[in-house]
């Protein structure tokens, strides 16, 4: 048995959650410190694992396997490849940053917050590393619960956090129970829960009707999580209500669970069905992209705007996935096109995590100071908060896909694949890019940062008595953003290190369908 990387990465946060939960609640500083420290080992290990495994990431790495429930043929089986490694790393990174950021901003019910957050991390990482359907499902649901509480308890009262929380919970639950039935059906025909093994056993091949039902059931679960139009309406509410760190992780990681599931489970299990239904899913992707962008454009609430932009951006992901699934040809150059599309999709998830996570942090920056997210309440802030302007500008530009920053690379690859395989969709989808520029520059940059700074208006929303750090981005906020900015530039300028692993894994995946 090698060094149990994945087990440690997954369960150290859980240990942390238990430790934090058992600590006395009075010493808030100590609690925060312990929580942050418990999230660091996972981050470090995830980075090491990523670096170690990137070369041969076409295959599952760091496998661990142990019998778990023999009668059920369920195993504790974890492993990562180039698709999951970046996402695991993303999870640990965003969690650590969120905890660090929250250490400064969370004031109520500190102990519960940090314990729940660490629990959440375990659930999220678990989904990315699980290679057994039962294990996958358990982790899937484990992540649901803490997030539900994070939204409900620490949400802003004016945003109806409880409503948002239960909406989030119910939506996800609807999808996941449907998925559970489909998993059971798959298990009944294949006799295994092994995610790697099932594709070769052609699940439900003998029962087309059931196969279609299972396909859509699983799709529903993941599409809700992604979220694809029209299953997206939980997202703006949840994002708006959640505390900053919650939004970050929600956008940065939770949405990726759905995307990851589509790639790891839906596509390999039902490649033929996926290809058959690709036109329909593609339409959903397009609607998500354009609709999300349009609705973003009409928002006056900064956080909702970014929430809807997530719908749009995850639409890009879906488009890439659909392109990759639209053909089963494994000969070059079709395989290359498919691989590029899927690379783009995976990288889009990673980038979206970095970028939108960053954007939510940045919304938090202004919200902590002013307690408003109304775009009409700001204006001219770039004169007052130049560093904030710079960081926000860069993140926003990454989000709209400016070449040289991360977002562009994945969009480029998605469209590169889409133009080769599903050109009509690509042509329509391109509109979303223009709209993306419009809502980001027009709404975010122009309304918040440009224009005339009015001291009078500022006095109304900013109360110095409630803010103890510097007016421009405080040091902890800069530190929080720094790693994200680093990755935006790294991926944007020289994506090969990140993409090598992804590419190896997607190529292997597609070639094996």
């Amino acid at each position: 048995m090698n060094f149990p990387f994945l087990t440690l990465i997954t369960f150290i946060p859980l240990l942390g959650a238990v430790v934090v939960a058992l600590m006395p609640g009075k010493h808030e500083r100590a609690l925060k410190l312990v929580a942050v420290l418990f999230s660091v080992p996972s981050l470090v290990l995830a980075l090491i694992a990523w670096l170690l495994s990137a070369q041969a990431a076409g295959e599952m790495q760091l496998l661990e396997e142990a019998v778990w429930i023999p009668t059920l043929n369920a195993y504790y089986r974890v492993g990562v490849d180039g698709i999951s490694l970046p996402l695991v790393f993303l999870t640990t990174l965003l969690t650590t940053l969120s905890l660090f950021y929250s250490a400064y901003t969370i004031k109520k019910r500190v102990k519960e917050f940090f314990a729940l957050f660490l629990l959440l991390e375990t659930g999220m990482i678990g989904v990315f590393v699980a290679l057994d359907l039962i294990l996958f499902y358990i982790f899937w649901e484990v992540g649901l619960v803490p997030m539900f509480l994070l939204i409900g308890i620490w949400g802003q009262p004016q945003d109806r956090p409880q409503y948002s929380a239960i909406k989030f919970f119910l939506y996800t639950l609807v999808g996941s129970v449907a998925m559970l039935l489909a998993f059971i059906a798959i298990y009944l025909t294949t006799g295994t829960w092994n995610i790697l093994q099932i594709p070769s056993l052609k699940p439900l091949a003998g029962n087309p009707a059931l196969a279609i039902a299972a396909f859509w059931a699983i799709f529903l679960a993941f599409a809700i999580k992604v979220p694809s139009w029209p299953f997206h309406t939980w997202l703006p509410d949840a994002h708006t209500a959640a505390p900053t760190a919650g939004s970050v992780v929600l956008a940065g990681v939770l949405l990726k669970l759905g995307g990851y599931g589509m790639i790891r489970i839906l596509l390999p299990f039902f490649p033929d069905l996926f290809r058959q239904f690709a036109p329909w899913i593609g339409v959903l992707a397009l609607i998500s992209m354009i609709y999300g962008a349009l609705v973003s454009m009409a928002q006056w609430d900064l956080k909702r705007l970014i929430a809807y932009s997530s719908v749009s951006h995850m639409g890009f992901f879906m488009l890439g996935l659909v392109a990759a699934a639209a053909s089963l040809d494994v000969a070059n150059p079709v395989l290359n096109s498919r691989a590029i599309a899927l690379n783009g999709a995976v990288l889009q998830m990673f980038n979206h995590g970095i970028i939108t996570g960053g954007l939510f942090f940045l919304v938090g920056v202004i919200y902590e100071r002013t307690h408003t997210r109304d775009l009409k309440a700001f204006g001219g802030l770039s004169a007052k908060m130049p560093v904030y302007y710079g960081v926000m500008l860069m993140t926003a530009l990454a989000s709209l896909g400016l070449p040289g920053l991360a977002g562009f690379i994945s969009e480029f690859m998605v469209f590169r694949g889409a133009f080769a395989l599903i050109p009509t969709y690509a042509i329509i989808g391109i509109v979303a890019i223009v709209l993306g520029a419009a809502y980001i520059l027009w709404k975010i940059i122009q309304h918040v940062f440009l224009g005339e700074f009015s001291e009078e208006r500022w006095q109304k929303i900013f109360n110095p008595a409630h803010w103890h750090f510097s007016l421009d981005m405080a040091r902890f906020e800069v530190i929080t953003m720094a790693p994200l900015l680093f990755f935006m530039v790294l991926v944007g300028v020289y994506p090969a290190p990140v993409l090598n692993g992804i590419n190896a894994a997607t190529t292997a995946l597609l070639a094996g369908l």
Partner: protein, 505 residues
């Protein structure tokens, strides 16, 4: 079978009887309200623990085929030996099950009883007798024995329900429970008589033999008999439409009794139902599967829908337990004993029952704790529980998740197996109704969660739940998690417990 052998095989029942009698006796000796009376609880608990030990001890004796237990030799009954009960894996499972129910209920009832109930010894003794009745009914293989043990359980339950004699609701609940229960058992008895008339025997296996032989002159009697028996058992399990007593009785009864009622009679009812249908009436499979499938759907749906509107947690949990019975029934409907599969439906049912035992008793233990402190089991009594007693809130949350069926909790494993059975039998509709219902159920479980986590309490002072409840809740919570994370022994237990039954099918 010698008397010694018989006594050994009946050891679990004897232990419980003795314990109950000792408790009763000491209750008479120790003055009411005296300091010594607190030992009554300990004695009852020790008896229950010994019950577990004894059950485990005699487990190997059953062998693979199970042992029949006959109280009289064949000559007296005019035939061969007529066994009344069986010591088979299913019976042993329910003995264990009973012991667990008793331990958790007793632990949870300590403080409640001390404050609100005058005759503690009798109360504990009645609960122990209720456990005894559960064990007997689960082991019974003869219509007579089934009737007797179920009546035993019923009468105990009526009395327990009406135990708060000063409380309007308690007595009212008891009256309704009694009237409903007595009528239902009379209907069931009538059904038994018809079954007897149709086959000429009371032995379950014998009935099956006669029916299989095809030489039955009054074959048409069987179906009406089946329906009437279902009424009686449906009442015990609280299946829709024989469920209506449950909310009133649950709400009225002292909360520890409600906890007991929500698990004990239900489990006994399921045990009898399984035995009766599988051992005696396998030939009528098509009939009872159709009826039970319909009942399962109605039960799940109605239980959940009506629960949406409840504001009393006890009543809410009553409806919830109705719905839960609906899920369990799926296991029976979708049974596939011939399949060499992970889920035979029946093992799912037992697993679900086990999960439900820990979950529901844990939840009721929390309700008891809150009620002890706040004096009411209304929803708003739970407001701000997270601030006041995080332990209770978190465990309650866990129990609610388990009731919904979200992993990693016991409820998930139960649902996995019963829904798995449904899909295996291609009863997709049943599974879909099941999951839709589990989504609906979130709405009302959420009502409790919302109060606990988001609600603002008038009184925000922390409170202590007391050692008994703490242990009860803690044990239940650990088991709820264990069943999901280390499910193997539980699954094995459930599968082996039904293996014999399935084989006889």
């Amino acid at each position: 079978m010698t008397l010694t052998q018989l006594l050994v095989l009946l050891l679990p029942e004897l232990v419980l009887t003795l314990t109950a009698l000792v408790v009763l006796g000491l209750d008479m000796i120790w003055r009411n309200g005296s300091w010594s009376q607190r030992f009554l609880l300990w004695i009852a608990l020790i008896g229950s623990v010994i019950l577990i030990a004894v059950t485990v001890l005699i487990w190997p004796l059953t062998g693979t085929g199970g042992l029949p237990i006959a109280f009289a030799t064949g000559k007296d009954f005019g035939g061969d030996q007529v066994p009344m009960m069986a010591l088979d894996p299913l019976a042993l499972f329910f003995k264990l099950f009973t012991a667990l129910v008793l331990i958790l209920v007793l632990l949870a009832s300590g403080d409640y009883v001390r404050v609100r109930i005058r005759f503690r010894g009798e109360f504990y003794a009645l609960i122990l007798f209720g456990g005894l009745a559960m064990m007997l009914s689960a082991a019974a293989t003869n219509l007579l024995m089934i009737y007797l043990s179920l009546e035993f359980l019923s009468i105990t339950s009526y009395l327990l329900t009406g135990y708060l004699r000063e409380d309007e609701r308690s007595t009212e609940g008891a009256v309704k429970y009694f009237v409903y229960g007595a009528t239902a058992s009379a209907v069931m008895l009538y059904g038994f008589s018809l079954l007897y008339g149709a086959t000429g025997t009371l032995d379950l296996a014998g009935i099956a033999t006669v029916l299989m032989g095809g030489m039955v002159p009054v074959h048409w009697l069987v179906y009406p008999a089946l329906i009437m028996v279902l009424v009686g058992l449906g009442f015990k399990i609280a299946l829709v439409p024989f469920h209506q007593w449950a909310p009133d009785a649950y709400e009225g009864a002292p909360t520890p009794v409600t906890a007991f009622l929500s698990v004990g009679p239900k489990a006994a009812g399921f045990a009898v139902l399984m035995r009766l249908l599988l051992t005696a009436l396998p030939g009528f499979q098509l009939d009872w599967i159709a009826v039970l499938a319909g009942i399962a759907i109605v039960t799940m749906t109605l239980g959940n829908l009506v629960a949406l509107w409840q504001s009393n947690v006890k009543r809410l949990l009553a409806y919830s337990s109705i719905a839960q019975a609906g899920y369990m029934l799926i296991g029976l409907v979708a049974l596939a004993p011939e399949a060499q599969s992970w889920t035979t439906g029946l093992n799912g049912l037992l697993l679900y029952l086990l999960a439900y035992l820990f979950t529901n008793l844990g939840a009721f233990a929390v309700v008891i704790a809150v009620e002890n402190h706040a004096g009411s089991a209304q929803l708003d009594a739970f407001a701000g529980l997270m601030r006041r007693n995080p332990f209770l809130a978190i465990t309650m949350f866990l129990f609610l998740l388990s009731l919904i069926g979200i992993p990693p909790t016991a409820g998930f494993v139960g649902k996995l197996f019963v829904f798995g059975a449904a899909i295996q039998r291609q009863m997709i509709m049943l599974a879909v109704v099941g999951i839709v219902n589990s989504v609906i159920s979130v709405y009302y479980y959420y009502a409790i969660m919302r109060q606990m986590f988001f609600g603002e309490a008038v009184d925000t002072s922390p409170f202590d739940e007391g050692p008994g409840l703490r242990v009860a809740v803690g044990v239940a919570a650990v088991m709820v998690l264990m069943m999901a994370l280390y499910a193997e022994p539980f699954i094995r237990l459930a599968s082996e417990s039904v293996s014999l039954l399935a084989a006889s099918f």
